[in-house]
Amino acid sequence: MNRRTMGKTVLGLAGAAMALSVGMGAAFAQEKLKVGFVYVGPVSDHGYSYQHDQGRLAVEKALGDKVTTTFVENVPEGADAERVIEQLAASGHKLIFTTSFGFMNPTLKVAKRHPDVKFEHATGYKRAENVATYSGRFYEGRTVVGAIAGKMTKSNIIGYIGSYPIPEVVGGINAFTIALREQNPKAEVRVVWVNSWYDPGKEAEAAKALIDQGADIIVQHTDSPAPIQTAQERGLWSVGQSSDMTRFGPKSHLTAIVEDWNGYYVDRVKAVLDGSWKPIDTWGGISTGMVELAPYNPAIPADVVKMADQIKADIVSGKRHSFQGPVKDQSGKVVIPEGKTATDEQILKMDWYVEGVQGKVPK
């Protein structure tokens, strides 16, 4: 029932001025909640932003009669982001998802000016009265992938393409390396930072450089499928990022770490609708379905698939943690002692490499 028919019905029933105002009030309450989404890349990237947009579509599908959604794509991290978020807030959006790390400070600034609007910032760590944060424990997926890579590599060199040296990416490299070397202590990880989330040309160049240096598996923490294409061209393995990228290299794509925001977004919009929304921090992993693995390449031997599934099951049951002591840093110093696991705080602030990663974290 839309606003106009609602008003008419009430009018017809009561037929009094008093009823009219009640009708207006009811109609107002019935007004759809406007939800805004801000993406760092194009919706069509078939990676990070694409997955967020799938979440938006899930919200529309589940709650389409109560909400309308808007999205803004290709928003650069920085001053421009603040303008975009401000515009969404000013145009009546009452819940705004800002989906990239670099939107953190702009989100908080706008949130301060619009206390009646609720904000959700992905992968950040600053919260406020009206700013919640959420992220996936993607490092759990990287643990599974690392173990697979440990079994599949022949050259014992893994090429890792990083976007920016932020804790999320560094932690991912570490989780991957720990699992990799558990299966294959001789394997090492070489990291190349491209300082971009999305630049197909540069990502392909980075993949080529790593392959030329002997890497036979390319792992990426950037969003374009270009590294997969490069690996396929050279007849080597690769791991996709954010979404299933199999079609870009069916012979090369081992699996991908898939981000699934659908459930979370629907839950949060529901929370705003029923008034139970709170500025909390959500950090879901494989067990919550926020982190998934794309179907394994059929060329992976059955025992490796079995091992990967076991690791996944152990992570879900809590028997296994991605950062399980003893974990040593590059100098051989034990950072996480035996019998302990890394705290969330340690993971969120990770700025050091574990043993087995070449090079230093750029400061």
Binding site: P42, R190, W193, A206, L210, P225, K363
Partner: protein, 309 residues
């Protein structure tokens, strides 16, 4: 692994990385020689990239794809030509607008083509030559577009400096009033120069989307059009120097990735800046020599021309 063995792959990757820049820079060089400054290279590259990709996906023919890319680049450029040459719009503003337009238009055209994989072009392989150590892969293991870009360098040079048409084009760029007085069709010559620039930019963009990373992604040129523009000044409007500049830029880009992979302790942010720093540095060095700039820069660059004025 011996680090010296990396020289071959680095060289091979360098030539490929330089190719889109070389196409676009050569085109823009001719445009500027005719006295027109078209800042819309990035936009034309993107339109060429998406049209070439789309047609190749539809027809399965890469040759058709590249032809359409060149045509699409030229068509985009013709918009600029009409606005600046015949309607006398400001060239800088129109060029910037053309880039913004190209970004949007290419995204629109490309909507249905995202996420579709494409086979790249086959690489040359000559037994005995391609497997030569160090330079084999770099010189004899590329695909046809890499060779075409290099082949275009002497052609553009010969055209500009050894043909009558080239002489007229340069004359128009140096002094359009005098060229007009001599009876040359200034606007027509510039129009075709701008179209050529658009076609070359289109080819450069299509190289990216059809070969280098065979897929379509919004904004996939990531600023390469701007680098091409800088290369023209860097080259002081000389085709051979534009090629050397493109190689230098491509080489530094590839080299910094290798330095990181080898774990050499240099900040990656600094390394990412290196290609740009190198370009700026050479620009500064060249600009110190006023005579050199003055000798080569077309005197009427960016100036509007009205035949009846």
């Amino acid at each position: 692994m011996n680090d010296l063995a990396l020289i071959g792959p680095i060289l091979a990757a360098m030539f490929a990385a330089a190719t889109p820049l070389l196409f676009a820079a050569l085109g823009e060089l001719v445009v500027e020689k005719s006295g027109v400054l078209n800042l819309g290279v990035e936009g034309m590259m993107l339109v060429g990239a998406v049209c070439g990709f789309a047609v190749t996906v539809q027809t399965g023919s890469a040759v058709t794809g590249f032809l359409v890319a060149a045509f699409a680049g030229a068509a985009t450029a013709s918009l600029f030509a009409v606005l600046t040459l015949f309607l006398l719009a400001n060239q800088v503003a129109t060029g910037l607008a053309l880039t913004l337009f190209g970004v949007g238009l290419s995204a629109l055209i490309g909507q249905g083509f995202v996420g579709i994989p494409l086979e790249g072009l086959p690489k040359l392989f000559i037994p005995g030559l391609t497997d030569m150590p160090v330079v084999g892969q770099a010189l004899f293991g590329q695909d046809i577009m890499v060779y075409l870009a290099v082949a275009a360098v002497p052609l553009v040079h010969l055209f500009l400096y050894r043909t009558r048409a080239g002489l007229v084009l340069r004359a128009v760029g140096e002094n359009h009033t005098a060229a007009h007085a001599l009876g040359y069709k200034v606007l027509r010559i510039r129009f075709f120069a701008v179209l050529f620039g658009g076609a070359m930019a289109g080819l450069g963009g299509a190289f990216l989307s059809m070969d280098y990373t065979p897929m379509w992604a919004e904004n996939m040129t990531s600023g390469r059009g701007w680098i091409a523009l800088a290369l023209v000044v860097f080259a002081t409007w000389k085709p051979v120097r534009a090629m050397l500049g493109a190689w230098l830029f491509g080489g530094v880009t590839i080299l910094q990735l290798h330095v990181q992979g080898l774990g050499i302790d240099v900040p990656s942010q600094l390394l990412s800046m290196l290609p740009y720093l190198a370009t700026v540095l050479v620009l500064v060095l060249i600009s110190r020599d006023v005579a050199r700039i003055r000798l080569n820069a077309p005197a009427c660059l960016g100036k509007l021309f009205h035949p009846d004025a």
